[in-house]
Amino acid sequence: MEFAGLAAGIAVGFGVLGPGIGVGIIAGKSSEAIGRNPDAVGLIRTNMILGAALAEGLGILSFVLGILLWTRIG
């Protein structure tokens, strides 16, 4: 039980790493796409938000795991 806080921190920290990289790639690529084709900005923005949300969902799963561990403390 005394390692639950450590486990929560590690779970959230490592779990957010991947989605962070993914969201960065999505935002960068969509900016690139808007630069190439400024007319398609609406479509690109919708797809970017959708993709970012899907990538972020994985990070949120690790956050939920962290919360579940955190409620075990104390």
Binding site: I49, A53, G57, I60, L61, V64
Partner: protein
């Protein structure tokens, strides 16, 4: 003051991390009525009251409020049409209701006292309510898929047509069908947890930033961030539900026809563009 501040009133306030779900206010048999339910009732009352008040007296020369709501509804309608075409306009009521309810609830979670006092808890920061919304949307789009494609609909999960081309292809189709089936079930879970984690995480972050070093105004930039995230998460929930509807009603045969159309547009066939004859 006990009814408002159960932990006693003091300034600077003793922030407490909002609970993961609503706390029960009273019990009716095995069911409990939580503070999230109460706040949800407020949200529904405000939104329904606004809708009733605006549509009570519609005019050709709209009042400012009617104008604002018309812009909102028109924007949502344009968005739905831009995603799924005019055929998906019948999903606008579900899409718009989910969007407005979630965005309103998310923005409530940013306000002070929501999540702090005893009888207020943002509805979307309680995963039961998110799970209910995800379940309603899931049942609705599965029903819509069955209604459109009849018995062709379950073929995307249990596809035996691959056995025509040999047992290996058939086995691969069965396996892909199982993955599809599990991803259907997984959609409810991810819809629920994405919204809940974002809203509750934002609330916790605001509390932590408010209590950090006791610097006034340190949480202010994060309030702006949370307002933006609340809008984006409401949009994402409603947009994903709309995408699931669009995916459920499209049949695989149409998809192939569309693909071949696009291909023939992009790559001109030799018949249409004959090679230049050598003189």
């Amino acid at each position: 003051m006990d009814w408002l501040f159960p932990r006693g009133f003091k300034y600077p306030p003793d922030f407490h991390i909002p609970s993961l779900t609503g706390e029960p206010l009273f019990h009716v048999g095995p069911l409990s009525y939580t503070n999230a339910h109460l706040t949800m009732a407020f949200v529904i009352a405000i939104l329904a009251g606004l809708a009733w008040f605006v549509t009570r007296d519609l005019r050709d020369r709209p009042s400012p409020l009617q104008n604002l709501v018309e812009i909102l509804v028109q924007g949502l309608d344009d968005f739905v049409v831009s995603i799924g075409g005019t055929g998906s306009r019948k999903y606008l009521p579900l899409f718009g209701t989910l969007f407005l309810f979630i965005v309103f609830s998310n923005w409530l979670s940013v306000l002070p006292f929501i999540g702090q006092v005893k009888f207020l808890h943002s509805p979307t920061a309680d995963y039961h309510i998110n799970f209910g919304m995800a379940l309603v949307a899931w049942v609705a789009y599965q029903t819509e898929g069955f209604r459109h494609l009849k018995l062709d609909y379950p073929k995307r999960w249990f596809n035996l047509s691959g056995f025509k081309d040999g047992p290996v292809i058939g086995a691969i189709f069965i396996l892909v069908g199982f993955i599809e089936l599990f991803s259907e079930l997984f959609r409810v879970l991810t819809l629920t947890l994405r919204l809940w984690g974002n809203v509750l995480g934002g609330e916790i972050m605001l509390i932590v930033m408010s209590g950090l070093f006791l610097v006034p105004g340190l949480a202010l930039p994060f309030v702006g961030l949370e307002v933006f995230i609340g809008l984006v998460q409401g949009l994402v929930f409603a947009l994903l539900v709309l995408m699931y509807f669009v995916l459920a009603i499209e049949s695989h045969d149409e998809e192939h026809e569309e693909g071949s159309d696009i291909d023939s547009d992009r790559v001109p066939s030799p018949e249409q563009h004959p090679a230049p004859q050598a003189a």
